[in-house]
C-alpha cells in the first residue's frame, strides 16, 4: 500500500537543489518521506526549500558563516517527519474527500441506468448491489487516487501575472485538451443516442427511458466539458473579466459582495468540471447578480482568483 502511495522517482529533481550539500541532503530526505508522484511532492519540497534559502540568507546577512547559517535554517524548519506526516495526512484527506462522493455518485448513476432498463420489479437486486459496490470502489478509488497522488497542480508563472495586481486564469494545456476531447466524445454519444430515439443507428432498439436518460447525461457532460474548456478569467485594473459559453462578463472589484462554494448537489446538476464558486455582486443598476467561476488545481491561478475575490468581498464589507 505504501509503495502505491509513495511512487518513488528515479532521483531527486535537480531544480530542487540549493547548492548547499547540508540543505540538499535534508530536502532529499524530506522528498523520500513524502507520498505521491514527483509533481505532488514538489510543492512541499519547494516550500521547504525556499524557507531554508531565505532563512539561510538572513543568517548570512547577519554575519554568520555558511555552516552556522545552514544549521540555523534547518533548526527553524523543524523535524522532517512532522512535515512529511502532515503531507501524508493532507493527501489522505484529499483522497477521502474525492473518492467517497465520486464513487457513490457514479455507482448511483449506473444503478439508475440499470433500473431504467429492467424496471424496479424485474431487477436482480443481489447482482445490482454487487455491481454498485464494484462501481463505487473502482471509480471512487481510481479518481481519488488520481487527484490525491498523481495529478499535477498548475504552477503560475510570471507570464500569467504581468503585474502585482493583474493575473490571468487559464487551464493547463493538458487539462484544456482533455476538456475539448471529452466534450467531443460526450457530444458524439449524445448524437448517437438522439439518433437512436429517432429510430436510427445502433441504439435504435434500446428502451426509450434508458436511451433518453443516457442522452440527457451525455448532453449534460458535453456541455459541462465545453463550458470548462471555454472558461477563462483575468484580473486587471481592479476588474474581473470572466469568459464562458455566453461571452464575457465584467465584474468590478468594488461590486463584489461575497463568494460561496456551489453546493455538491447543485454542482452535479449544473454543467461544469471540477469545483466551482458563486461570485455575488451588484451591477450598475444595483441588482444582485451571481456568476459561477471554476476553481480547480488544474487552473493556473485558480486559487489566486478565489483569494482575490474573498479579499474584494471583505474589503467591500468593511467599506
Amino acid at each position: 500500500m505504501n509503495r502505491l502511495r509513495r511512487l518513488r522517482s528515479a532521483g531527486f529533481s535537480t531544480d530542487h537543489a540549493t547548492g548547499d550539500a547540508r540543505l540538499d541532503t535534508h530536502l532529499w530526505a524530506l522528498d523520500a518521506a513524502l507520498v505521491g508522484a514527483a509533481a505532488v511532492r514538489r510543492p512541499t519540497v519547494m516550500e521547504a526549500r525556499d524557507f531554508l534559502l531565505e532563512l539561510r540568507d538572513r543568517a548570512l546577512r547577519a554575519g554568520k558563516d555558511d555552516a552556522a547559517a545552514a544549521v540555523e535554517a534547518l533548526a527553524a524548519l523543524g523535524p522532517l517527519e512532522a512535515l512529511a506526516r502532515e503531507q501524508r495526512a493532507n493527501r489522505a484527506a484529499v483522497f477521502r474527500r474525492v473518492a467517497i462522493p465520486a464513487g457513490l455518485g457514479y455507482a448511483g448513476l449506473m444503478l439508475l441506468v440499470s433500473l431504467l432498463r429492467t424496471g424496479v420489479t424485474g431487477a436482480d437486486w443481489p447482482v445490482l448491489a454487487g455491481v454498485f459496490a464494484v462501481h463505487a470502489l473502482l471509480f471512487g478509488t481510481g479518481l481519488g487516487y488520481w487527484v490525491a497522488y498523481l495529478a499535477k497542480q498548475a504552477e503560475p508563472t510570471v507570464a500569467d501575472a504581468p503585474a502585482a495586481d493583474a493575473f490571468s486564469v487559464r487551464w493547463m494545456p493538458t487539462s484544456a485538451a482533455l476538456a475539448w476531447g471529452l466534450a467531443a466524445v460526450f457530444g458524439l454519444g449524445a448524437g448517437v443516442l438522439a439518433a437512436g430515439l429517432a429510430g436510427l443507428g445502433p441504439v435504435a432498439t434500446w428502451a426509450r427511458p434508458q436511451a433518453l436518460a443516457l442522452l440527457l447525461l451525455n448532453a449534460h457532460l458535453a456541455l459541462g466539458e465545453l463550458r470548462a474548456a471555454r472558461f477563462r478569467a483575468r484580473v486587471e485594473d481592479g476588474t474581473l473579466y470572466v469568459e464562458g459559453l455566453r461571452g464575457q462578463q465584467r465584474i468590478p472589484q468594488a461590486a463584489i459582495s461575497g463568494t460561496a462554494p456551489v453546493s455538491l448537489p447543485l454542482q452535479l446538476l449544473l454543467p461544469g468540471m471540477g469545483r466551482s464558486y458563486w461570485v455575488h455582486w451588484r451591477d450598475e443598476r444595483g441588482r444582485e447578480r451571481r456568476t459561477r467561476v471554476s476553481s480547480s488545481p488544474e487552473l493556473v491561478h485558480g486559487d489566486r482568483l478565489l483569494a482575490w475575490l474573498e479579499g474584494a468581498a471583505r474589503a467591500n464589507r468593511g467599506a
Partner: protein, 94 residues
C-alpha cells in the same frame, strides 16, 4: 499565527518573520511547534486557505490566508484565553 494572517495573506518565511518581530525573545517557541506542519494542519481543518503566486526564486510561492472559520476560531480562542488570564489575575497572580 492566526493573528499574523489576520493582517493579510502571507507565505511561510514572511509569517516566520512577523512572528519573530511579534514574539521578540520568545521567537524560539515557534521552532518547537514547527511552522509548516501547523500551517498545513490548519489548512486541512479549514481554518486557513492557500493560493500560489509566482515567487522571486522561480518556484511559485504558497500564500496562506485566514478563512471566515479561522477568523471565528481565533476570536473564540482569544475570548477563552482572556477569561483564563483574568481569572489568574484575580486569583493566583493577585
Amino acid at each position: 499565527m492566526l493573528h499574523v494572517l489576520r493582517a493579510g495573506p502571507n507565505y511561510g518565511f514572511g509569517i516566520r518573520e512577523r512572528l519573530d518581530q511579534a514574539l521578540g525573545a520568545d521567537a524560539g517557541l515557534v521552532k518547537e511547534a514547527t511552522l509548516y506542519p501547523l500551517l498545513h494542519r490548519l489548512e486541512r481543518n479549514g481554518l486557513l486557505a492557500s493560493h500560489h503566486e509566482p515567487g522571486e526564486r522561480g518556484s511559485p510561492r504558497k500564500y496562506y490566508r485566514l478563512t471566515p472559520e479561522g477568523d471565528a476560531f481565533f476570536e473564540r480562542r482569544v475570548a477563552e484565553w482572556g477569561r483564563v488570564a483574568a481569572l489568574l489575575q484575580r486569583t493566583v497572580l493577585k
